[in-house]
């Protein structure tokens, strides 16, 4: 095929555009990436390297011992299990409550109810933590995981409700009308038509609720006892008054982040789709 001279500057231009875009993206994400790289570096360095000047990014000897220490010293598996129970229960309960709630709000156009839920989410957690602490104490629940499960619902339910509202609003009304003409009761319309169609939304709501619940720190630090700590609280407890051991701390932080990180990597497409649902109706 003959090469047309007109095309070449065009291709050059496109490559330049692409490189520029990559560069811009790199600059924008660099704070996050550098922070993350430094965390990895910290977790692999011995204490002596941490204070070195100029700073060392890649140490000569990897301090795998930091990771070993995390698992050995702290009741790590207990805390991990606590986290799984609290986050799992808070997320599942949120789905059970939030998906039908989102459907109801979307179909009844009950925006006020949605805003009330949003306000509950916007209120700083600390403002109601102390009264709740007293309440849980009075109910004799403090030694258990229940206070944390219940209070995590403050985080997870609004996320689920709001994402599901967006999803159900984009479900064409005609589908549900068709189902009701086909003989479905309102409950059957929800279960057999609305719910299956909203499946991608449920996945997103599930993942986001999981991430927020998993990373929650404030509720745990107030409500957790020594045996009911979740992972973020456990990591915080590695800071002692005498010294900060950066290596094990960074290692623990990375281990805590890992499940959420992996989940996000796999589900990022759905998350973006879920967050923009409702923005482009019928799109």
């Amino acid at each position: 095929m003959e090469r047309t001279p007109v095309k070449r500057p065009f291709i050059k231009r496109r490559t330049l555009d692409r490189v520029g875009l990559l560069f811009a993206a790199l600059i924008m994400v660099s704070p996050v990436v550098l922070f993350f790289l430094w965390m990895i570096s910290l977790s692999l360095k011995y204490e002596i390297d941490n204070g070195a000047y100029p700073p060392i990014l890649i140490p000569e000897n990897f301090a795998w011992a930091n990771y070993v220490q995390v698992f050995k010293e702290n009741n790590f598996f207990l805390y991990f299990w606590n986290s799984v129970l609290v986050t799992g229960a808070a997320t599942l309960l949120a789905l059970i409550i939030g998906v039908p709630a989102g459907y109801g709000i979307a179909r009844l156009k009950a925006e006020k109810a949605a805003i009330v839920i949003m306000i509950a989410r916007m209120t700083p957690g600390l403002s109601f933590l102390i009264p709740l602490f007293l309440l849980f104490q009075w109910l004799n629940l403090l030694g258990t995981l229940w206070p944390q499960i219940i209070i995590h619902l403050v985080v997870t339910v609004p996320i689920v409700v709001w994402i599901m509202i967006g999803y159900f609003e984009t479900t064409p009304m005609e589908l549900e009308e068709a189902a009701s003409i086909d003989g479905a009761t309102p409950w059957q319309v929800f279960r057999l038509v609305a719910l299956p169609i909203a499946k991608p939304g449920i996945v997103v709501a599930f993942i986001l609720a999981l991430i927020f619940s998993w990373n929650n720190f404030v509720f745990g630090i107030v409500l957790a006892s020594r045996t009911t700590r979740t992972l973020p609280v456990a990591v915080y407890n590695m800071l002692s008054f005498e010294q900060v051991s950066w290596g094990p701390l960074a290692a623990a932080a990375l281990i805590v982040t890992l499940p959420v990180l992996v989940l996000t990597l796999f589900a990022q497409k759905q998350i973006v789709a879920g967050l923009t649902a409702g923005a482009v109706k019928g799109g």
């Binding site: 064409p172 005609e174 589908l175 009308e177 068709a178 189902a179 009701s180 003409i181 086909d182 003989g183 479905a184 009761t185 059957q188 057999l192 038509v193 299956p196 169609i197 499946k199």
Partner: protein
């Protein structure tokens, strides 16, 4: 199958009266088309029959059963929506069998009925597909299949062809009509397209601003429109309207053009009042002796020629079926088929 009776139906949305007081009788097995411009209340009326919209007053009877207060699921009707409303998470087969599954019908019997409906509509090879894998026409057929499988008392169609391209619309039009002739279920069909109404209906109900303008067979509406609205709405291109009066046995327009009158019209009844003279473009023929006009628009499609003539200050649309040689600016002679003239009272809009 059943008759459908709408008695003194009213519909208000808040303070807005959409339908004031409307009654229609639909015979068993009849194909009735509700037609009118957008906002005339035709879709609202259909949705009230379906049970998707509450009536503000009046009664809806399907057969002898009063259904006005029954939920949609108990009315034994099937509806085809404009955007098909196929369940995206179900295969064609599941879509068509959904209603029977809800009724907890025998699965073998359901499969049998789905297969039969699929055969009628030529969908046998698509039963395992999902709606997203189908073309517009196929989706339309599945939506119809979903209605057939139910074997309901009444079919409702809400502008089912408006999402299809022009060619497919013509094909589906005859398919729907053929299906009705084969199954014979009472059908109510809503459209804003008067060609669809004319070609498919046994009976047309012309709606305008929530009121019935005229009810009748297609040709009845074409030949004897009851008022100016129906006259202008039915027929394409639209009827010519010329304002004027009857003077000495002829019609003189306000701008002075003289037009012939039908022989059977007694001038006494018209009595010098302001009138509107209606003549369809296809009832004007080219003729050397007739009214002379200058062509301002000429559009030929091969089978016919549409021309707009300026005759003595009046605009006259003409549709010539014969091949005549007209160009823009030419002077053309035309004569009016006076047996096809319609006269309306200008003040009331009613036919004389």
């Amino acid at each position: 199958m059943a008759t459908v009776t709408l008695q003194n139906i009213q519909k208000r949305f808040g303070a807005v009266n959409v339908i004031e007081n409307l009654s229609v009788d639909i015979a068993d097995g009849e194909f009735v088309v509700l037609v009118g411009p957008s906002g005339c209340g035709k879709s609202t009326l259909l949705r009230m029959v379906a049970g998707l919209e509450e009536v503000s007053g009046g009664e809806i009877l399907i057969g002898a059963r009063e259904v006005s207060n029954l939920p949609a699921r108990d009315r034994d009707i099937a509806m085809v929506f404009q955007n098909y409303a196929l369940y995206p998470h179900m295969t064609v087969e599941d879509n068509m069998g959904f209603a029977l599954k809800l009724k907890k019908a025998d699965p073998a019997d359901t499969a049998e009925r789905v297969k039969k409906a699929a055969a009628i509509l030529g969908l046998e090879n698509l039963l395992d597909r999902y709606p997203r894998q189908l073309s517009g026409g196929q989706r339309q057929r599945v939506a119809m299949g979903r209605a057939i499988v139910r074997n309901p008392q009444v079919f409702l169609f809400d502008e089912p062809l408006s999402n299809l391209d022009a060619k497919l619309r013509v094909v589906m039009r005859s398919e729907i009509k053929a299906m009705h002739q084969r199954i014979g279920t009472t059908t109510i069909y809503v459209t804003h397209d008067q060609i669809e109404a004319m070609t498919m209906a046994d009976k047309i109900v012309v709606l305008h601003d929530g009121n019935i303008e005229q009810v009748g067979a297609p040709l009845e509406l074409y030949d004897r429109p009851a008022n100016l609205f129906v006259a202008g709405f039915i027929g394409s291109p639209a009827m010519n309207f010329l304002e004027g009066r009857i003077e000495e046995g002829v019609f003189r327009t306000d701008k002075g053009l003289i037009l012939p009158l039908p022989a059977d019209l007694s001038p006494a009844s018209a009595g010098g009042r302001p009138l509107v003279y209606g003549i369809r473009p296809e009832h004007i023929r080219a003729s050397d002796q007739g009214i002379q006009g200058r062509a301002t628009i000429v559009e030929g499609t091969g089978s016919e020629i549409f021309a707009k003539l300026e005759c003595g200050g009046e605009q006259l649309s003409c549709l010539f079926r014969e091949r005549i040689d007209i160009r823009f600016g030419d002077t053309v002679g035309v004569s009016i088929d006076e047996k096809r003239v319609h006269l309306f009272d200008k003040a009331t809009g009613q036919r004389l």
